[in-house]
Structure formats: structure tokens, C-alpha cells
Amino acid sequence: MRALSWCGGLALAASVLAFPFLVNAYWLSVGVLAMFYAIVTASWALLAGYAGQFSFGHMAFVSLGAYTSGLLVKWFDIPVPLGMAAGVVVCAVVGSGVGFVGLRMRGPYLALFTVAFSEVLRIIFVSEVEITGGSGGLEVTPLFHTRSDMPSYYLGVVLLAASLAVMLALVASRWGLFFRAIRENEDAAAAGGVKVMRFRVLAFAIASAFAGLGGGYFGHYIGILTPDIGSVDQMGLVVAMAVIGGAESIIAATIGALGLEFLVEALRSYGQWRLVLFGALLLLTMRFARNGLLALAWEQVRRVDRMRTSRRAREVGE
């Protein structure tokens, strides 16, 4: 079994690295967007799946990171990486602020609060036309002045790999254990000596920082930012990606995001039906395979494997 998962991981990594050489320019740009959604979805899975804080304001942090970086680069002419770093810092600070005021709220109250936060931020970005360009969009300095998307793609791969490494190290550490303890039962965690307040705020700040990183990357790649990136429908897409992959595992959520983004583009000719389809898929997954389709598939593989082992054991026994 272990060998199988190693082989799967290696095959995935190899196909991700070789991807730009196998496809045309259009699918390469899809690949770039897939990297963006993967970073955002993985960090949402960290916040909602691991730490149990259902935030529907995650895309608001994406847009906050994107606008912060875009505007700073535009106003002060600083290098793009510096702008993106500033976006990450702003998101971490605002995220810990939202996490802090959200401390007294649980479950649905926090979800409501973050929806409201997200919509207020979007309305501000739409209304303050002099600063953000409103719905018309804000022109953002591109990351690379090349015609090919190849550098952007590999940057995305590096950012995703680094984000995943940090998040996976985090959930494997004691902090990850605290996050899960708080998710399962806050009072019991507190009684067990977990500093619930500190770790709830921390989870929010970290996840928001990654959302800001994703936002900065997206903004400087796409070149024109509109407030729509922070809309509830975009949030729905990210939630669908995480849940369909498996929101309680960062890797599963990432694979869900990559898979669904390609599915989105493959279904492009069906236009509007896509979000309906993902809504339906999200509902079906929640209803029948709550741990995500990947966990379901993995379970099947393991069952087949177990059957084969036991049959072999029986044959040996005979």
C-alpha cells in the first residue's frame, strides 16, 4: 500500500512538472489558474477542515491580498514580489483581526460573520472607483514580461509546493493536533490545556496569509483585477473543490482543486451549467461521501488490496 501511494505521488509530481511541455498555451493558462485555486483551497481546508472554523470569507482575503499587492506596486513602483509579500502580511494581520473578533462566535455565527465581512469588502472595492477602478477593474503589473505562461506556471508550482510543505508540517506538528482538538470539542480542548483563543486566531491568520499569497499570484498573473474574485460564487467554487476532494485532508483538497479546475475548463462550452454541476456535485458529496470523493476512492483501493492479501493468506494457509 505504501509503495502504491509513493508511486501515485511520484507520478503526480512528474506530470505536474512535465505538464507545460505536453499541452498548448490555453491549457497552460488553465494550469496556472489551477495552481492558484489549489493554494486557496488547501488553505481553506486547513482553516475549515482541520481547525473547524467555517469561514466563507476566504475569497475576501484573496481579493485583499491581490488588491494590496496590485495597488502598492502601482503607487510606489516596488518590485512585484515585495508587493505580494506585503499582501500576505496585510492578510495575516486582517485575518488575525477577523479571527480575534470571531472568537466569541461558533459554527454558523462565524460563517455568517465572514460572509458579511466578505460582501462588505467586495462592496467597498466596487464603490471606491477612484482607488480600485470599481467593477471596471484595476490594471495590475504582470509578473513576467514573457509571452509564454511557462514562468508563471512554474512559479505557481513552487508556491503551491512551498505552501503545502508549510501546511503539512503544521498539521503534523503539535499545533495541528491542537487545531483538531479545538475542532472536535472546544471545551474539552481547553480543559486539556490547549490555549483555544491563541490557536483559533493563529489558524485564521495563517490560512488568510496563504489566501493573500494566492491572491497576489492570481492578480499579477491575470493582469486585471475585478471585485468579482471575492464574490460568494467564487467562494462556492472553492468550497466545492475542497469538499469534493475531501475538506478534512489538505492533500485531498488540493487534488480536488486541481481536478475541478481542469474539469471547469473542459466543460467551458457548457458555460453557466458548470456552477450548477459543481453545486450538485458538492451536495451529492456531502450527502453520500462526506469525507470527499478521494477518500471514497482510496477506501475502494484499500478494500481491493485487503481482499487480495487475505486471499493470498488463505491460499498460503491451504
Binding site: 459554527g107 454558523p108 455568517l112 460582501e119 462556492g236 450548477v276 450527502r287
Partner: protein
């Protein structure tokens, strides 16, 4: 200026009644099923369209169309509840709160985007209930608004009568107080979860049908009233129908005052949308149990 403010206050009053109807539906659902229904605004939107198509396709008179919209919203809600929400009642479901949030959020995404395909993105305006306007001295108010306000009051009164004076209403109340005790005295709770979700949906759909001729219909029309309804439900105290009615009026009037008094008219309409959201955030921060909250309906 005072006339203008008075007209705005009256408009706010009628809209406040509509908000109260939406919020009362949300409260019924919340107090029985113990979930925050993120799809409530989308049922409201569907109700508006149901009424429109009842008029446009079948030639039903506008008044009956409101009732038809309520019935279809009732049926749609029950369909959603039976197919998707039953795991909420099963003892083997872990973290039911999370399940409720994600599933109702998924329903809202699904319905909104389905509506976008079926009805198209362009706003539709159903015909008026009554043409013309009520003119009393300096005050002008369209008959549609007067009718919407009146019909909203009838719906709220019917709800209160139903909840307090009928056996089914009493059973709903019993389930909201304690599922176990209700089961002990022989109340089949499954039936009443269904009824509560359907009833909440019917109220939302009815509100959508009433609003149609005043604002127009669009697939995303449910987003803002949804958060307004949340603000109202929480301000009024989770689970308190009377509290939601008072809070609905309060928010309706203060919102139209905000629009009337906002210094920069070019932004007043977009920021008016943010108004209720900010109220919601403040209420959640300062007084999450609301003004008239009942202890036993606190969220787990």
C-alpha cells in the same frame, strides 16, 4: 425634506414587513432544525419567479399567484429537506452544525446558478397587483407597496396564529423546545422537521412574490435579503418570531433612512447594501443572543 423623509420611512416600513416575513421563515427553520439556512434567500428568489411564471404562463391573477408561489416554495423546500437534510436527524452524523452549513450553502449556490440559466441574468418585472399609487396630501406610495405591506402583515398574523393556536403549531413549538421530550409524548419529529422547513420556505417564497412588482426579479436578488434576514433573526433573538417582526421593522426603516441621509448619492445605493451587512456584523459582535432571545434555542 420632511415629506421626503416621511415617504422614505413609509417605504422602509413596508420593506421592513417583507424582511420580517423572510426572517420569520428563517426563525421557524432555525428553531426546529437548529440550522442556519444559507439557502433561504434563494427560496425567496425562486418564490418571486414562481409567481411571475404563474402569471405569465398560466394567466393566474396576481393575488392567487402569491399563494401559488408559496405552495411551490413549500414543495421545493420539502424536496430539498427530504433529499439532503435527513442526515441532520441521524445520531451517526458527526458535527451536524458543519453539515448544515455546507449543505445549505451548496443548495444556495446550486439554486442561484440554476436560476441564472433558466431565467437569464436580465431583471424581470411581474405585473402590478394594483396599478397606480396611494396619494394622501404630500405622501405618495404605490399600491403595490401598500399591498405588499398588508399581505406581509396577514402572513405574519397567520404564522403567529398557526404557531400558537393550532395543534401542529404547538407540536412545532414542542419539538423546538426539546426533541426528546416531544418524541416521548408521541410527536413524530420527522414530520415536523419537514413541516418547519416547508413553512419557512413558503414564507420566503411568499415574500419573494410580494417584492416582485416593487423591485424586479433577478437570480442574485436573494443575496442581500438573506443577510438582512440573518441580521433580523439574530437581532430579534434566535427562535423568537415576535422578536424577528420587531427587528425587521427596525432594520427596514433604519435602512431607508440611511439611503435618504447618505451624503454621497452616487454611492448611497451600493453602500445601502452594505448597511445591513454591517448591522449583522455589529449584532454578532455585540449582542449575539439578540434583544429577545430565548435561552433554549441557543445554537450548539
Amino acid at each position: 425634506m420632511t415629506d421626503y423623509l416621511l415617504i422614505q420611512a413609509l417605504n422602509g416600513l413596508t420593506i421592513g414587513i417583507i424582511y420580517a416575513v423572510i426572517a420569520a421563515g428563517l426563525t421557524v427553520i432555525f428553531s426546529i432544525l437548529r440550522i442556519v439556512n444559507f439557502a433561504h434567500g434563494e427560496i425567496y428568489m425562486m418564490g418571486g419567479y414562481f409567481s411571475y411564471f404563474a402569471i405569465a404562463l398560466f394567466g393566474i391573477p396576481p393575488l392567487l399567484a402569491v399563494i401559488a408561489a408559496m405552495l411551490t416554495s413549500f414543495a421545493l423546500s420539502i424536496l430539498a429537506e427530504r433529499t439532503l437534510l435527513t442526515p441532520l436527524y441521524s445520531p451517526t452524523t458527526e458535527r451536524k452544525g458543519d453539515y448544515g452549513i455546507l449543505v445549505t450553502f451548496g443548495i444556495s449556490i446550486f439554486l442561484r446558478n440554476l436560476a441564472l440559466i433558466i431565467y437569464g441574468p436580465y431583471p424581470l418585472r411581474p405585473p402590478s397587483f394594483f396599478a397606480g399609487a396611494l396619494i394622501a396630501g404630500p405622501l405618495i406610495m404605490t399600491w403595490d407597496r401598500v399591498f405588499a405591506g398588508g399581505a406581509g402583515i396577514v402572513m405574519l398574523a397567520a404564522l403567529i396564529w398557526f404557531m400558537q393556536r393550532t395543534p401542529w403549531g404547538e407540536a412545532l413549538n414542542a419539538v423546538s423546545q426539546s426533541r426528546e421530550s416531544a418524541a416521548i409524548v408521541g410527536i413524530d419529529d420527522q414530520r415536523f422537521y419537514m413541516l418547519a422547513f416547508g413553512l419557512g420556505g413558503a414564507l420566503a417564497g411568499g415574500a419573494g412574490a410580494l417584492v416582485g412588482p416593487i423591485y424586479s426579479l433577478s437570480p442574485s436578488m436573494g443575496l442581500i435579503p438573506d443577510t438582512q434576514a440573518f441580521a433580523i433573526v439574530i437581532l430579534g433573538g434566535m427562535g423568537s418570531v415576535a422578536g424577528s417582526i420587531l427587528a425587521g421593522l427596525l432594520i427596514g426603516i433604519s435602512e431607508s433612512m440611511f439611503i435618504a441621509l447618505f451624503p454621497d448619492p452616487s454611492r448611497s445605493l451600493t453602500y445601502a447594501q452594505a448597511f445591513s451587512l454591517v448591522i449583522l456584523m455589529i449584532v454578532l459582535l455585540v449582542r449575539p443572543t439578540g434583544l429577545f432571545g430565548r435561552v433554549h434555542t441557543a445554537m450548539e
